[in-house]
């Protein structure tokens, strides 16, 4: 890093009109104080002031020059004061020289420093910071196609990935305050410790923006817990994967979709956050289909299934709230689930009728005769939710209203009943009311466009200690 010369330092570039304006002031100061001028573009600007050329922008980068001109006062090599642009009062206060630039206007805003030029900043970040990256560098030959090379190495999920160059990874890392070397989690199935840097690489490949990185990091942490059991979820033959449901003001800040087509395509954050998690599982954890991943059919969560809840308009709060997080927190919930299926009810205008419709659909989940082993998330669309909201039903009332219609006599569910071998053990035969879901196994989320009397059921994998529990976490920035 360049040291600061004692006295006064001014950083300028010729291209900046304000820098040209202050040249007479610099000449005044050079006669009276110890002045060092750094110039970013033309080494001969300003003429005859002995300016040092900061051509590679090392000085500007390391001293956080964002605006030119910048005036810095230095004592014993340490910065003690700074002003940007031209403000006569400030320049006179800092230099303790009166009567500066008498013919100049009292104030002119500065221009952007070349060290923060959007066209240069990625390259500079690599030049001055890439040494903190510890991943192996892989060179791509001139004649090799970047995309094909990554397909050939088995690094993609079947879709093209963005090449994780040093520039892109460094830019991605600006999305978090965490050090790139921090260990985030231990990733199954190979149980490999993963750093923030490796998560950032997968986020780049998935197509994320830096502001999504905290969400991806939190998703990776949540997935790699014993409760969530990503290992089992990967290895199971069932068609399930991590379903990521986000809520809080941060979802709007990063432009997530909770409205029209929320569970579908077309939104960058929705489409890439879940994908980044799965690229971590594939490339760092070693979880690949046909190897540890033995899914019979697979499902959308295997590629990336992520959406936001519309918590601003939700009449009954958020899923993360149901799972214990405070309202208003940026939260991410991981659920081991399959693709969604639709509940169509375009005629119910009374809450009990709609609750019965939901219950009838939920009974069929996975198998009408299998109960208690699987959880579910019901993603209610706004038009369905309004039926309950207009009747004044709270979240608890909706849940108990649906649950009231989810019991069936054990005699109808046992193996062989109804001419179907599948079912629950004989021991349940005499129990009159066997619930479809365990306590807490029915969860409610709110998303979707304003038109359409539809909701979505996301069926879960084996629940509880033997399988997976939903995990909600506040997003860690």
């Amino acid at each position: 890093m360049s040291n600061l010369p004692d006295g006064f330092v001014v950083v300028v570039k010729e291209e900046c009109a304000t820098c040209q304006t202050v040249v007479p002031v610099l000449r005044q100061l050079a006669d009276t104080i110890e002045l060092t001028v750094y110039t970013q573009d033309n080494p001969d600007f300003p003429a005859n002031l002995g300016a040092r050329h900061d051509g590679d922008l090392t000085f500007s980068w390391h001293h956080d020059i964002e605006t030119v001109p910048t005036l810095i006062r230095v004592v014993n090599g340490v910065e003690v004061d700074r002003t940007v642009g031209w403000k006569r009062g400030e320049w006179e206060r800092i230099t303790e020289v009166e009567g500066l630039g008498p013919k100049l206007p009292p104030m002119r805003p500065g221009c952007g420093s070349m060290s923060v030029d959007p066209d240069l900043v990625d390259e500079l970040r690599v030049r001055f910071g890439a040494t903190t990256l510890s991943s192996r560098r892989v060179d791509i030959a001139d004649a090799e196609d970047d995309m094909e090379m990554m397909f050939n190495r088995g690094w993609t999920d079947g879709l093209p990935v963005v090449p994780p160059t040093e520039e892109r990874v460094m830019r991605m890392l600006t999305g978090t305050s965490r050090a790139s070397s921090d260990i985030v989690a231990t990733v199954p199935p190979d149980l490999v410790d993963i750093t923030v840097e490796k998560v950032a690489i997968s986020a780049v490949m998935a197509g994320c923006l830096p502001e999504y990185l905290p969400w991806v990091l939190t998703a990776v942490e949540a997935a790699c817990t014993d409760e969530f059991n990503m290992h089992g979820l990967l290895a199971t033959t069932m068609p399930v994967g991590p379903v990521i449901i986000c809520s809080g003001p941060g979802t709007r800040a990063i432009g997530m979709n909770s409205g029209v087509n929320a569970l579908g395509q077309g939104n960058r954050a929705n489409s890439t956050i879940g994908r980044a998690l799965q690229l971590v599982i594939r490339n760092v954890g070693g979880g690949r289909p046909g190897e540890v991943d033995k899914a019979t059919h697979g499902g959308p969560g295997k590629l990336g299934f992520c959406f936001a809840e519309n918590d601003v308009d939700s009449p009954y709060g958020t899923l993360a709230g149901q799972l214990g997080l405070e309202p208003g927190v940026d939260a991410i919930t991981l659920f081991a689930g399959e693709g969604s299926r639709c509940v169509v009810d375009q005629l119910s205008r009374e809450p009990d009728s709609l609750a019965r419709s939901f219950a009838a659909n939920l009974q069929a989940m996975h198998h009408p005769k299998l109960v208690l082993a699987f959880d579910v998330i019901l993603v209610m669309g706004p038009e369905h939710a309004r039926v309950f909201a207009d009747a004044g039903w709270s979240r608890d009332q909706i849940m108990s209203g649906i649950t009231a219609h989810l019991n069936r006599p054990g005699s109808e569910l046992i193996r062989g009943a109804g001419g179907m071998a599948e079912g629950i053990p004989e021991d349940f035969a005499d129990i009159p009311d066997v619930p479809k879901f365990r306590e807490g196994g029915l969860m409610l989320a709110y998303a979707g466009g304003g038109a359409g009397l539809f909701s979505e059921i996301i069926g879960g994998w084996v629940n509880g200690d033997v399988g997976s529990k939903p995990v909600s976490r506040a997003v860690a920035y």
Binding site: D146, P164, S202, D226
Partner: protein, 92 residues
């Protein structure tokens, strides 16, 4: 121009392990049978135990708490210290 990208993998160095030599006889040796806890795994393992006992092997039986998760490290250590061989059964 040559482009450089960063390796997205875990960059693991795999520990190389040599398989144990096959014994000429199991007589007097201890074989662990690990049931992963899927239904009917016990049916398979009961038969294997009979066959092993018939050729003089001692059999220890173990179960994973759930088939969805790897065997806990303590269980793996117990098997490794109590047995010379292990058979892990998957049945569905």
């Amino acid at each position: 121009m040559t482009r450089t990208i960063l390796d997205p993998t875990g960059e693991r160095t795999l520990a190389e392990r040599q398989p144990l030599e096959r014994p000429t006889s199991l007589d007097g040796l201890t074989v662990g049978l690990l049931n992963i806890s899927k239904p009917r795994g016990d049916v398979f393992l009961d038969r294997i135990e009979e066959r092993l006992n018939a050729i003089g092997a001692k059999v220890n039986r173990y179960s994973k708490p759930t088939f969805t998760k790897p065997a806990p490290v303590d269980l793996r250590h117990k098997i490794a210290t109590e047995c010379q061989f292990v058979i892990e059964a998957l049945a569905d």
